[in-house]
């Protein structure tokens, strides 16, 4: 299927270029990527484009609380998506909420990746007791439901964005460790690693300069998926009231705030942040799915 739409080979086909062209072949993935980039831009530029700073209590007015979408508040501007119970503009709230979600999601996924990948490579390279002790910890970690573990960690650490990031890193590093160990075990017996050993390269260089780049493809796939998972986990924790402070709501807390008003017909407080969360996670997942298809040679026809 993918062969028919291949661009004519003009220059030397580097692996990266082949990867790009194969990725671009899927329309859905490209749309998902575009949506994700759009969301990311909104999140990055939120302070400049949002009509209101939803985290500044001084600009909120309780008298503007629970306005319908399209209503004009005391501040004089239109609340396109309505306001929540504190008079917070929902559009601004969602923009800032996306900022937190993406920051926590990407940040924690990246840090978990760093830690997890290092542990996985150490396990694969060292083998023996080191390998089995690291992998038993990973097994233990994976046998625990992520949300339960995160709840326990937050109960211990207390609320706060940094603590949410720490909790997500602790519950997610194991996925990376297992993935990296698996591919590293295959790669370490390859010729180039033998050559590295023969040259008596220090393990640090052998590991990070030679082994790691070859373990990257599966890591990228897992990483993308884990970003979506981390965002969902952060939203869940905030929804349960354990994540961010109530004056700086992320998407999960915005949904929780509006949840009580669902029965009384004030749907917009939960609905729009819910849509934003959904679109974000789905777009990341679609990109991740397609990345897996492209990067996994076994799935290729």
């Amino acid at each position: 299927m993918s062969t028919t739409t291949k661009t004519p080979v003009v220059a030397v086909e580097t692996p990266f270029r082949r990867f790009v062209s194969e990725f671009a072949a899927s329309k859905i993935a490209m749309v998902a990527l575009a949506v994700f980039v759009f969301i990311a831009l909104i999140a990055i530029f939120a302070p400049w484009i949002a009509p209101q700073n939803p985290y500044d209590l001084a600009v909120l007015d309780i008298m503007d609380g629970r306005l319908e979408p399209g209503a004009i508040g005391g501040g004089g501007y239109v609340h396109w998506l309505g306001t929540d119970d504190q008079g917070r503009d929902m559009l601004s709230g969602i923009m800032y909420g996306l900022r937190i979600s993406l920051l926590v999601g990407c940040g924690s996924a990246l840090l978990a990746c760093l830690f997890g990948a290092t542990m996985g490579m150490i396990a694969a390279y060292a083998g023996g007791k080191t390998d089995s002790s690291i992998m038993r910890v990973v097994d233990l970690q994976l046998s625990f439901p992520a949300i339960l573990a995160a709840l326990m960690i937050l109960a211990f650490l207390g609320k706060g964005i940094m603590n949410v990031v720490i909790a997500i890193i602790i519950v997610e590093w194991a996925y990376y460790a297992r993935t990296v160990r698996g591919s590293a075990l295959v790669e370490r017996n390859r010729e180039y690693m033998e050559a590295a050993r023969c040259l008596a390269l220090p393990p640090r260089i052998a590991l990070f300069n030679h082994l790691l780049p070859n373990c990257l493809p599966p890591l990228i796939v897992v990483g993308t998926m884990q970003i979506a998972r981390a965002i969902a986990l952060e939203a869940t924790l905030s929804f349960l009231g354990l994540g961010v402070p109530i004056t700086e709501p992320s998407l999960g807390l915005l949904i929780a705030n509006g949840f009580e008003y669902m029965l009384s017909g004030k749907y917009w407080i939960s609905f729009y942040p819910g849509i934003a969360l959904l679109v974000t996670i789905v777009s990341i997942n679609l990109v991740g799915d397609h990345l897996r298809d492209v990067l996994n040679p076994r799935l290729k026809k």
Partner: protein, 523 residues
Amino acid sequence: MRITTAICALGLMAGAAQAQTMTMTMAVGAPVTSLDPHFHQLSPNNAVAQMVFSRLVGTDAQSRRVPDLAESWTAVAPTIWEFKLRRGVRFHNGSEFTADDVAFTIARVPNVPNSPSSFAGFVRPITRVEVVDSHTIRFHTATPYPLLPLDLSNVYMLDRETHQNATTEQFNAGTMAVGTGPFRVVSHANGDRIVFDRNDNFYGEAPGFARVNYRMITNDSARTAALLAGDVDVIDQVPTADLARLRGDARVSLAEVLGLRIIYLSMDHERTGPSPFITDNDGRPLAQNPMKDIRVRRALSMAIDRNAITSRVMEGSAVPSGQFLPPGVFSHVPGIEAPAFDAEGARRLLAEAGFPNGFRITLHGPNDRYPNDGRIIQAIGQMWARVGVRTAVEAQTWTTFVARAGRQEFSAFLIGWGSNPDGSHPLRNLTSCFSRERGWGNSNRGRYCNEALDNQLITAMQELDESRRERQLIDIQRAVFADQAIIPLHIQTNIWASRRGFVVTPRVDESTIAQSVRPATMR
């Protein structure tokens, strides 16, 4: 026309007849933790105790003291109270109620093993119980103690023959939940439901229902949904978010009454040096705790738009207040209104106190204890921010919050208090100096202290003349609020919702009891 009237009349008669055998299902928001009436002092437990057991001194819907098992009580001497008991009262198992059972109950109350929140305080003033005859009993106290009838309205009477060796577990199982009240326990599933049958030999007004299912549905939305679906007939603690909708629903009627629970802000009175959550605008700790300055306390109170909170956040289910008790209650202070919202005045006072540019503070509060607690502190954060006090808001779960507040970790925090209808109750618990020996100031987590006022309170609490005592309590409360010991916000309305065909008499004390519900046709 005549035919419709006839049909209506028929319907009414059928309804009235049906009511005698009718079942009513009610859902409460807070779980009952024990059926032992002396085990755990908690409003949901006390409500169920009111259905099964009786007290010497009862309370009506307005929390006024009314004769119950005692027909009358008088102080025959400054330190002796005499209670005349009702005759012919029998427990559910047929055993007769006598003065000896009262003596047994008073002796049992302080000796319930593992009680997490004891009733002992209500009988502690009693130094000796004297059984005069089978239906007369005297209580001796060390000093004149006018509050004894009020205290005894919290003590449920048991039977010596039945409950001699009864354990809390036996009460919870239902086997020992035998009282003199209008309902007997049929079954009890802990944390889920209790089933009651009418006690046909009850000495008071006969209950309107033959059987009552008392369900515990702690999730607010689920409780409202159960009512709308017709699974339950009455719910309590109606969530404010659903009020607007329920008010407009013809199938549902609401019963509301101004309660006795004040929601207020407590401030750090303990430290003269830096207070942990107050800094200057650059985040450096202040050398002195600004909360010690009456002008700052008053400014923070004036900066709060209480009407905005009660109308927007509480959706009308609270009334702004400037003192502990609502109007009409014994020792309510006439003339203290809810402080008017005055941002300009607040800024002026802050400037006078040396804070023309305000300061920074963190306002703490629970997020799962009082209706909209987390929302209220955010709204106050907005209002304080507007007068220059940059406020961070932190809401926590009740258990974490109350433990930290009790260790004086906060600079300012929101909390509530359900009062007995007597000013001495909030005074001695919330604003008197903390004293373990005296048992006062137990809930005074801001540690306000004014010895002179405490001495006045000691005098008032020994005053047997009700009107003189009321005047003294009013004077003390006036002084407490002139000094802005706390920042009162509002008094909550207690709200019940019932389906068509059921009428609820709202109770000031928040108790959800089947006696308050009547079939509509029986009125």
